[in-house]
């Protein structure tokens, strides 16, 4: 346990050393992967043209894609900025100020402060939990959330895995989350996490179906499961104008999948202490509630812009990467706003609405889209 400043500093130093050692291993692996095709010569130090050419060639490799741009670093940065943006947005909506003190300009270093706080807390593992699953569940949640990032294209050039069944990969990944939530809830071996876990399970499973049906509408309009094709077909008309009901259903169902208000019951603070996350403290909590939820947020907002808002298509002077990130950020804002606006839905009303209302809405739009495509309309 950390009792003194020295202890805290020692922990930070150990962490930095571990990161350096792992970074060394990673860099040597990268060199092994990239090295043979792109030799690094000493003349690069003298000749900036060569270094520039090397950098551009490096940007085209898979390693760069996985680690930096549409992959890990980008998503982590997006998660951090989304976290800060959420708190400032909510604060402004509630006539407060939000985090203000970390960093010179309006609390901009707050995510770093949050991570340092979570890292410095003790990892409490209660005695009665099932150690294996208790430790496995957050790791699995983050891993699976990151696996979905692999098929999301930021532009045609920047995609990690060009897959012909990209949409199905997202479905398969979404189907894993109830499993990890149940694992986390059950391993905690106590009353409130169990209740919260069962509610989370019910909610996630019930809202998967309208989500899948509403994603199928752009797929039917395009005729392909490839995300690159779906964006390509929107060059004349965005699908949100052709399938507005599906877009609305997707939006509401992603609110439910992310366990955000108004579908907040599994984490209901006044009711269930902290729902299925009660027993998790310190970095465990930071892993689930921090990283995995924001990665899911990024995945669902990116999916919304790809399917309905035309992805990276936009007026030319600005690069397509900018358009994608801009649109995804607007969708993220819309996903964050209901937290300050709506009350929480009761669990039976929540489930009844999913089956009675959103399922039917998604089906209606799917049938309309199928009828339109069969009638000969080719977007």
């Amino acid at each position: 346990m950390i009792r003194t400043l020295i202890g805290f500093l020692i922990r930070i130093v150990v962490l930095v050393l571990v990161i350096l050692v792992l970074g060394l291993i990673l860099i040597s692996a990268a060199y092994y992967l990239i090295g043979p095709s792109l030799p690094i010569t000493p003349s690069m130090l003298i000749n900036p043209q060569e270094a520039l050419a090397f950098t551009f060639a490096l940007m085209d490799t898979d390693f760069f894609r996985i680690v930096v741009f549409p992959g890990f670093t980008f998503v982590a940065l997006y998660a951090a900025i989304a976290g800060l943006w959420e708190r400032k947005l909510l604060a402004k909506m509630q006539l407060r100020v939000g985090p203000l003190y970390a960093g010179k300009f309006e609390g901009i270093l707050q995510p770093i402060a949050d991570v340092m706080k979570l890292l410095s807390k003790e990892l409490v593992i209660p005695k009665v939990v099932d150690r294996f699953f208790f430790i496995l569940a957050p790791i699995l949640t983050v891993t699976i959330a990151t696996a979905a990032v692999a098929v999301i294209p930021v532009t045609e050039r920047w995609v990690i895995a060009r897959s012909d069944v990209g949409v199905l990969v997202i479905f398969a990944v979404l189907a894993f989350f109830p499993l990890t939530a149940l694992m986390a809830a059950w391993s905690s071996n106590s009353r409130y996490p169990m209740l919260g876990g069962l509610r989370a399970l019910h909610q996630m499973v019930a809202y998967e179906i309208p989500l899948i049906l509403s994603v199928l509408t752009p797929v039917v309009l395009t005729g392909s499961l490839n995300l690159l094709d779906i964006v390509e077909k929107q060059s004349s008309l965005w699908f949100i104008l052709l399938a507005p009901i599906s877009a609305l259903t997707f939006y509401i169902c992603s609110l439910a999948e992310l366990e955000r208000i108004p579908f907040d019951l599994p984490e209901a603070e006044p009711e269930l202490v902290s729902g299925w996350l009660t027993e998790y403290g310190g970095m465990n909590f930071g892993l689930i509630l921090g990283i995995a939820v924001y990665i899911k947020l990024y995945v669902l907002s990116a999916l919304f812009t790809l399917l309905f808002l035309g992805g990276w298509l936009g007026p030319q002077p600005l690069p397509p990467e900018f358009w994608f990130i801009f649109k995804a950020f607007i969708v993220t804002t819309f996903l964050l706003i209901p937290r300050g606006v709506f009350p929480r839905l009761r669990i039976d009303l929540l489930l009844k609405q999913s089956w009675a209302r959103y399922f039917i809405l998604a089906l209606i739009n799917l049938v309309i889209a199928a009828a339109v495509v069969l009638g000969g309309f080719k977007p």
Binding site: F133, S163, D164, V165, L168, V169, F171, A172, L174, A175, F176, P178, L179, L182, M183, W186, M194, L198, L201, V205, E208
Partner: protein, 162 residues
């Protein structure tokens, strides 16, 4: 010549299948079962059936494994322990070995031992057209079976509550 991915997947799938049946607690068994489902999905991906692999993940892991875990967890733990293991374990292992050896011999004695790594693959869109045209009757029957399963499950749940 054995591929590393294939060997790894085979080991993971078979060992989790054994663990699913042999683990002390049923919850561990259910999670090991879902791991073997993931292994089978990996096999499908190795066989160039990516659509089927994602379908298997979504249905088996996303639905069946969740259902099984849900059932296992809805019941309190002490009562499961009353079901003791059968005394016919030795006979069971013997039967399993005989089945495995029999199937293995059948495979060896046939002419399938030649390798056919043909590069041509079928696009997965053929699955949909085949189901809707050639196997339409099975498709409609499947829809009826699923509907009746849902109705049956709802009726069973309702009867309990009375």
């Amino acid at each position: 010549m054995i591929d590393v991915a294939f060997a790894l997947l085979a080991i993971i799938t078979v060992i989790s299948a054994i663990l699913a049946l042999e683990a002390k607690e049923v919850v561990y068994g259910a999670i090991a079962l879902s791991l073997s489902f993931v292994g089978i999905a990996g096999f499908f991906a190795l066989l160039d059936a990516v659509f089927l692999a994602m379908f298997q993940l979504t249905v088996y892991v996303g639905a069946i494994a969740v259902l099984i875990l849900f059932t296992v967890m809805l019941v309190r733990r002490e009562q499961w322990l009353k079901a003791k293991e059968g005394v016919h374990s030795v006979l069971g292992v013997l039967v399993a070995i005989i089945v495995a050896l029999g199937l293995g011999y059948l495979v060896y004695a046939s002419t399938i031992t030649h390798v056919t790594p043909s590069v041509e693959q079928a696009p997965f869109t053929l699955i949909g057209s085949q189901i809707l045209s050639e196997y339409w009757f099975a498709f409609i029957t499947l829809a009826l079976v699923l509907a009746s399963a849902v109705i049956g499950a709802v009726v069973l749940a309702k009867l309990e509550r009375d």
